[in-house]
């Protein structure tokens, strides 16, 4: 068993009548439809009044490779995958062993598999899970147009005790356009699936959720990022496709068409970043989305945005690195380059959403801040946020809009880079009479004329750093939750499991503080000192190999002597139980 998780602690209760939370996964080779199965079950759970989350994991094959849809459903908002899976539905064994480490199973887990698949993979056997071989394939074949994944959905729904109404509604919404016959076939397959496991005791009894789908959202992180960008005021996007960020562009292209904006596919990332700099210089809030390799290519021109004081937003949906790395899997290892990847002294903004739905608010805030401070903002999302879907309460509206400080026409003696109290200088937008000037990446005087003088350099460096340092970022710089002398500090997607670990400890009566940084640069020493005040033990949690977040914290903040790091590279998600264990036993490495 490759899992790093101690699966003995899995939550599934022996004959759990009251369980209102369940983790399950569908796996299968490309054609099997594991993703659709997961999607429909998530929709169904939402319609039945549950919260939930679905992550995806894919093999390297473009088509026909193995895929896993990992779900967690609950009557409480779900922030992360659980510690392991209660139920694994395998349409075929295929190369499922490649996912072994991503599929923690335990003796209490139940595994369903097609009964013609032959030998059970070693990691399943080793887990001690109960394996049930079912006639998935033959059952599907017996139904006209019946698909095996729908049989699996039926079996799973039954075993987790999900109210069947939601399932019917989900099918009708999802397959509505495909006509009555398709819907009928799907329903028949689902019912057949339910019958297949009718005799088996359920792994959970979800029933109906207390809530209702009304007012709830079902959204992916990449969609939320796109929506946040548009709400913030983005009117121009130039980008070059790259996994796992492309869905942001796919969502934004039609959306911008409707809002009167433009999205262009650029020839490469050097073009994307310079196109958005040009568009922003001309007055339109602009953005690009990419992943690590693309962000690397933008380094030089991000510096241009800093020096010329042109606001732009760059979303990096992180994947495994270095280099091409692991393009389809998640990691938090672009933190260092986002913070420090620009030559020269180039202060800029770095923000990170810390949940799937927070992609909306954080991206929107990034647009607002970039525009307000006339500087580039890098937003660090990752594959596990971007490509996962969540069923959640409708995210609240935030006041963050692009509001640029603009100079009035014919201002006398206009100086583009005038030193002001805030450090922000009114920007002249092309088309405004009397303010023509040249924005420049060379060091310059206040007027914008190139200058190599020490005094001009110092003045402009002070100004560019000062405007970031002096800005009031309010309470959103971090989520600080709970109290006590023990704290977890983390960022981004790892916040989900950290939050859950903290909640579990609190449920046991222990005080735990959670500090999840949303604004990573500029550093906020005063706010951080307050957040850390009284903390004696600090656990730094991140998904990187070289402890990038720990180093960032050490460089910028004063940390308690008893500071400990839990850092692991991708692609395995950090599980709540792992954080919990390290908090419970401080001697654990």
């Amino acid at each position: 068993m490759h899992s790093l998780v101690d699966t003995a602690t899995l939550e599934r209760p022996a004959a759990a009548p009251a369980s209102r939370s369940v983790s399950l996964v569908f796996t299968g080779s490309g054609g099997a439809g594991a993703m659709t199965a997961g999607q429909i079950l998530l929709d169904a759970a939402a319609k039945a009044g549950f919260y939930g989350l679905m992550s995806r994991s894919m093999g390297p094959q473009i088509r026909g490779g193995e895929a896993a849809a990992m779900l967690r459903l609950s009557n409480r908002p779900v922030a992360a995958l659980g510690d392991g899976f209660d139920l694994l539905v395998a349409f075929d064994w295929g190369s499922v062993a490649r996912f072994a480490a991503e599929l923690p199973l335990g003796p209490k887990s139940l595994v369903l598999v097609d009964d013609e698949q032959g030998e059970t993979p070693a990691f399943v056997v080793a887990s001690g899970a109960e394996v049930l071989c079912l006639a998935f394939e033959r059952t599907a074949e017996a139904i006209p147009d019946g698909r095996v994944n729908m049989v699996g959905v039926g079996a799973a729904a039954r075993l987790i005790g999900l109210d069947p109404d939601g399932l019917v509604a989900a099918i009708e919404t999802k397959l509505g356009r495909k006509g009555a016959a398709t819907i009928a076939a799907a329903k028949a397959a689902i019912e057949a699936g339910e019958r297949l496991v009718a005799e088996h005791p359920p792994v959970a009894r979800l029933g109906r959720g207390e809530g209702s789908a009304d007012g709830r959202w079902n959204i992916s992180g990449n969609e939320a990022t796109g929506l946040g960008a548009i709400r913030g005021g983005i009117g121009f996007v130039a980008a070059y496709p790259i996994t796992p960020s492309t869905e942001i562009l796919e969502w934004m292209a039609p959306a911008l068409e409707r809002t009167g904006g433009v999205l262009v596919q650029a020839e490469d990332e050097l073009a994307s970043i310079n196109m958005i700099i040009g568009a922003s210089f001309s007055g339109v809030p602009s953005m690009t989305a990419t992943s690590g390799p693309g962000l690397s290519l933008m380094s030089e021109s991000l510096g241009l945005a800093v020096a010329s004081e042109t606001p732009v937003v760059v979303v990096d949906v992180m994947r495994g690195g270095p280099s091409t790395g692991i393009p389809t899997k998640s990691e938090q290892s672009d933190l260092a380059i986002a913070l420090d990847g620009l030559h020269g002294d180039a202060p800029h903004l770095v923000l990170a959403p810390n949940s799937i739905d927070d992609c909306l608010a954080t991206t929107q805030w990034a647009v607002h801040l970039a525009e307000k401070l006339q500087t580039p903002a890098i937003v660090l999302s990752d594959q596990s946020l971007g490509q996962s879907r969540v069923v959640t309460d409708r995210p609240p509206d935030r006041p963050y809009r692009a509001e640029r400080l603009v100079a009035a026409a014919d201002t006398a003696n206009y100086r583009r880079y005038a030193v002001t109290e805030s450090g922000v200088s009114p920007m002249a937008i092309p088309g405004t009479p009397g303010l023509a000037h040249v924005a420049d990446g060379l060091e310059h005087s206040e007027r914008g004329t190139p200058s190599a003088a020490a005094a001009d350099h110092q003045r402009q460096l002070d100004k560019r750093q000062g405007k970031l340092d002096r800005c009031d970022y309010g309470a959103d710089w971090a989520d600080v939750e709970g109290d006590g002398a023990v704290a977890i500090v983390t960022w981004g997607s790892v916040t989900g499991p950290a939050r859950e670990a903290a909640a579990r400890l609190r449920a046991r009566g222990e005080e735990v503080r959670l500090i999840s940084l949303r604004l990573l640069a500029p550093a906020r020493p005063v706010e951080m000192a307050a957040a850390l005040s009284g903390v004696e033990r600090l656990l730094v949690v991140e998904q990187s190999h070289s402890k990038q977040f720990l180093k960032y914290l050490r460089a910028n903040y004063d940390l308690p002597t008893a500071t400990k790091s839990f850092a692991r590279p991708g692609p395995l998600p950090v599980r709540p139980v792992e954080i919990e264990a390290r908090l419970s036993d401080w001697s654990m490495q």
């Binding site: 958005i276 040009g278 009479p433 040249v438």
Partner: protein, 286 residues
């Protein structure tokens, strides 16, 4: 605001402007005698002739002696990084179709480090004008070979026996890449160059003006260019790519005038707002 081609005209029609009305008070860093001085005059003359309002022109460049040019005019300028003038200009024009957008820079900036953007800008055919100030050398970094340098030029310590590499002919490259208008001029003839720039700006889509502009410091021999250039004898420039390929196949690289005048419509994404931002929410109802 009236928009025609890549042209944001003045609304108020005051006394006709002169070239000097488009010069800023910044002194060029260029060497005395550098071809770029005359090219600057050609640009300001063209701007005056076009009758554009200062504030409606965006003049974008990269890095190099040549790329310093925007600061010497008094329109809106953006002096970006080396090689990226064209994507920057593309962003300006796509975001603000009402502006007249001109990009300029050197042969190194535009054809070496910026070469990919050059071919893609030609292909994309956004309505803007690109001027390459070609001196067949990197002036700013003190004299290395560029993509237009002839294979036997041995004036740089990096290529002391010549580059051994055939130069590329920018007009040919622009043509097969898809530019919609191609002209060639010589900075020693600033009035003619001004006319080419005027025609280029007025032409819809991506227009490319290749200007031979001597570097008197690192390529003194380029003073002889004045004897080499000769105007095109064609009555009218070709308008089809195949036709123009046939003509350019036999060109010597010193023909001045309009070499191609295509009729592809400019790339201009539809910009009408149809929907309020809030209306996206419905998509995400659980």
């Amino acid at each position: 605001m009236s928009i025609r081609g890549n042209l944001a005209l003045r609304q108020d029609a005051p006394a006709p402007l002169r070239a000097a009305d488009f010069r800023s008070d910044v002194d060029p860093i260029w060497c005395p005698g550098c071809g770029h001085h005359a090219l600057l005059l050609a640009v300001t003359t063209a701007l005056a002739e076009l009758g554009v309002a200062h504030e409606n022109v965006a003049f974008v460049s990269g890095i190099g002696c040549s790329s310093r040019i925007p600061a010497y005019t008094n329109v809106y300028g953006f002096h970006g990084v080396h090689g990226r003038a064209l994507p920057t200009a593309t962003g300006v024009k796509l975001a603000r179709p009402d502006l007249t957008v001109i990009a300029a820079g050197g042969d190194g900036d535009g054809l070496s480090i910026g070469g990919n953007h050059f071919t893609h800008a030609c292909r994309r055919n956004v309505d803007m004008t690109y001027i390459v100030m070609d001196n067949q050398v990197y002036g700013m970094t003190k004299g290395q070979a560029s993509p237009t340098t002839s294979a036997d030029w041995s004036g740089s310590k990096l290529t002391p026996h010549g580059t051994g590499i055939s130069p590329v002919e920018p007009a040919r490259l622009a043509l097969v890449a898809g530019a919609n208008f191609i002209a060639r001029g010589f900075s020693g003839q600033p009035k003619e160059v001004a006319k080419l720039i005027v025609a280029a700006v007025r032409h819809p889509g991506f227009s490319f003006v290749h200007v031979l502009s001597p570097c008197v410091t690192y390529r003194k021999e380029q003073r002889e260019w004045k004897h080499a250039v000769h105007p095109s004898l064609d009555a009218a420039p070709p308008s089809r790519m195949d036709e123009a390929m046939h003509r350019l196949a036999d060109d010597d690289g010193f023909t001045t005038g309009i070499l191609f005048s295509g009729d592809r419509p400019a790339f201009a994404p539809d910009r009408q707002q149809r929907m309020a931002i809030g209306s996206f929410d419905a998509q995400f109802a659980a």
